[in-house]
């Protein structure tokens, strides 16, 4: 039967008249997962996919009585590919929800598709504040703008680090985080000695670190994209900043769970603020970490948990609409949703569709022979300060 049908289809192609028929829809809900699986940001794609698969392994592949199907596509981190793939997924595959988007421009590029097709897109990774206003159909489960940096500023002042140099990577998220940190830090009574920006391409931190050292601050606040963290840490140690008594405070991207063991002992004692640590103590997180280790043989990081929560949001929204896949109904269902994620309690802000979550201050320590970000204090219900109303 099947053979015959495919033969018929082939004949149809040859005649060139059956191609117009769309693939027959079954009782399945398709979710289009668009991620950079190759290129410099492949690790992001790998982690998010692991999170998505872990959720399905733990919670089954059915929501609201419908089978959930994942269609994974690689955009290699190029915006026009992301846009084309997203559009094709909507038009040809008939997906009901889009998911993924590793970098800000990639998410930005699909905004027109969402507005035209009225389909929700759950952002699992890209973080800049500017994305959310682009479409009413964006929801985010990663992090909003300088969400992780603001509590670090408060913590630094509380712990007597009053003179700080900031060092961020020179691109959208870096600017967001620099602004968020500096504003909060000044408000709390700290002094910014200097703000240094490092180029995104081929970063060499040595000259910038020398400038930091010469400025003799109490601490240096750092944000670099996840992946560059290990290079930064190496040069930080080489330049002897730690010996000069300059403390390193950062967002969690620098001590990414995925890379932490690779960085080695140099990372010990670094203080970071972030929304997720694989070491987070909760039953949800234990199950999540175990599942990812089992299926992908790696430690999940904050990208992974973004993918996991995106799946939860999709499942929960489908349950709420009773399996209705109308995009506008789904996005309405997602607004205001609250649940306990492996990272802790989180909520989707009904106003901005952005995530509201706790930010933890952590220190890198050795646990059971491996390095972890060990959480020691937290700031609750942090919003993106750039968009929060």
């Amino acid at each position: 039967m099947l053979k015959r049908r495919s033969f018929m289809a082939a004949a149809g192609v040859a005649l060139g008249c059956l191609m117009a028929l769309p693939a027959q829809a079954q009782e399945a809900v398709k979710i289009g997962l668009v991620l950079p699986m190759t290129g410099p940001f492949a690790s992001t794609g790998r982690q998010v996919e692991a999170g998505v698969r872990a959720y399905m392994a733990l919670n089954g592949d059915e929501a609201a009585g419908k089978k959930i199907e994942i269609v994974l596509r690689d955009d290699a981190g190029t915006a026009d590919q992301t846009r084309r793939i997203a559009q094709e997924l909507v038009v040809n595959e008939g997906v009901s929800i889009l998911m993924g988007f590793g970098l800000t421009p990639l998410a930005m590029s699909v905004a027109p598709v969402l507005n035209q097709a009225k389909i929700p897109a759950i952002i699992t990774s890209a973080t800049t504040s500017a994305i959310m206003p682009q479409s009413e159909y964006f929801v985010r489960t990663s992090m909003g703008g300088p969400q992780s940096a603001v509590p670090v500023a408060t913590w630094a002042v509380e712990n007597d680090l009053k003179r700080v140099v900031t060092l961020v990577t020179d691109y959208g998220p870096g600017h967001d985080i620099e602004k968020g940190f500096v504003d909060q830090f000044k408000k709390d009574g700290g002094e910014i000695v200097e703000s240094v920006r490092v180029p995104l391409q081929n970063p060499d931190f040595a000259p910038f670190l020398q400038r930091v050292r010469d400025a003799k601050p109490d601490a240096v606040f750092v944000f670099v994209p996840s992946g560059v963290g290990s290079l930064f840490m190496k040069q930080f140690v080489e330049r002897g900043l730690a010996d000069a008594g300059i403390k390193l405070i950062a967002t969690g991207d620098v001590t990414d769970d995925d890379l932490l063991n690779g960085i080695g002992d140099a990372a010990k004692g670094v203080i970071t603020g972030h929304f997720y640590s694989a070491n987070h103590d909760s039953p949800e997180n234990k199950a999540f970490v175990e599942q990812v280790r089992k299926t992908n043989n790696m430690r999940p990081n904050f990208m992974s948990v973004g993918g996991y929560d995106a799946m939860h949001l999709a499942y929960a929204a489908l349950e709420k609409t009773g399996g209705d896949t109308d995009g506008t109904k789904l996005i309405e269902a997602m607004k205001g949703m609250e649940w306990t994620s492996p990272r802790g309690p989180i909520m989707i802000d009904p106003e901005t569709r952005d995530i509201v979550q706790d930010i933890y201050i952590r220190e890198v320590k050795e646990v059971d022979g491996e390095l972890y970000n060990v959480e020691f204090t937290k700031y609750e219900k942090i919003r993106d300060p750039n968009t929060a109303k």
Partner: protein, 346 residues
């Protein structure tokens, strides 16, 4: 055009004969090839037969246009460029900014983008004139990198690393809206590709194009027989820049988004690869290469989202090893082989 008529070896003949021979030569070079009868009708038929593939076909058309423009400088003028995406990117940004601040009609935007990138091409062509292949590689690469960094830094104009968004294109010529299925977008891109390729064809197979080939194979000799090499190269480079600018503008207009990625090195590299696959020096190499490259990439990245680059790489290595000299004109070998196999004379 006196360059290739062999007046130096031919015994004294009257000018009439010479001219006739030159005309014959020109006509033979510019005759319509068999594949031209296949490719264009097929592209038009795709509008009706493959409605679900409009988006990838649009991408192919844009890439093909970009590759054809590179073929004009590489295959005809012999300028090896690693930074051809500079013009593609400038065209893309110009079209985006124009639509955002001035006028949303695509065809106007397209022409403006072509003009701006032509001006850049003209200005930078003088750098290309200096030095040999290696310096040209470095100069073109450098220009593209500089523009890429400028696009990243000038956030107030280009949106920086986040890209330029928040503009939408009006209907084409005020009549055809860009639809979600990408049908009108494809027709638009195909029309631009066709017109531009025909113009490029006219240029490439004219005496001007022959002069370029003469410069390519031996600049000193070409200069000796009186071909103004500098001027010819400047003109060819500028025309190619305009065409690349068109391609960039089409990308912006069909996606209503520009990111600094349009100026990234991998685009220059991709378009060179396309010419390696499709062959250089006969314009259609860009089109065949773009079809092959894009379909292959799309197919492999669906089959194996993580490792498709490996297979592309492997294929290229094989292609270069097997192809070697033939690679430049493989399409011409097919009919020859076919007729040879059937016992006829090629």
């Amino acid at each position: 055009m006196s360059v290739i008529t062999r007046e130096d070896v031919a015994p004294v003949e009257d000018g009439q004969d010479d001219q006739a021979r030159a005309m014959r030569l020109m006509r033979r070079r510019s005759r319509i090839r068999f594949f031209e009868f296949i490719i264009w009708p097929a592209a038009v038929a795709a509008i009706f037969l493959l409605p679900s593939k409009m988006l990838i076909l649009t991408e192919i058309a844009i890439l093909a246009l970009f590759a054809v423009s590179l073929d004009l400088v590489l295959g005809f003028a012999g300028i090896v460029s690693l930074g051809h995406t500079a013009f593609f990117g400038i065209g893309a940004y110009t079209a985006g900014l124009f639509a955002r601040h001035y006028f949303a009609e695509p065809v106007t935007g397209l022409l403006v983008a072509g003009v701006v990138s032509g001006i850049l091409g003209f200005a930078t062509s003088f750098l290309i004139l200096r030095g040999s292949d290696l310096t040209r590689l470095m100069t073109t690469l450098g220009i593209a990198l500089m523009l890429g960094e400028a696009a990243n830094q000038m956030g107030w104009l280009t949106g920086g690393a986040d890209g330029l968004s928040g503009f939408s294109l009006g209907p084409i010529l005020g009549l055809f809206e860009f639809d979600l299925w990408g049908r009108n977008g494809y027709i638009y891109c195909l029309a631009v590709l066709f017109v531009t390729t025909m113009v490029a064809r006219r240029i490439a197979f004219s005496p001007f194009g022959l002069a370029l080939k003469a410069i390519k194979s031996n600049p000193t000799r070409a200069a000796l027989v009186g071909v103004p090499a500098r001027r010819r190269l400047v003109i060819a480079y500028t025309i190619a820049a305009v065409m690349a600018g068109f391609a960039g503008a089409l990308l912006t207009q069909t996606t209503s988004f520009v990111s600094p990625d349009v100026l990234a090195f991998h685009r220059s590299a991709d378009v060179l690869l396309i010419l390696v696959i499709g062959g250089t020096g006969y314009l259609y190499g860009g089109i065949f290469g773009a079809i092959g490259f894009t379909l292959l990439k799309d197919w492999l990245s669906v089959v194996t989202p993580q490792y498709w680059m490996f297979w592309i790489g492997l294929l290229l290595v094989i292609l270069v090893l097997v192809g070697r000299g033939r690679i430049a004109r493989w399409i011409e070998y097919i009919p020859q082989r076919l007729t040879a196999a059937m016992g006829g004379k090629p």
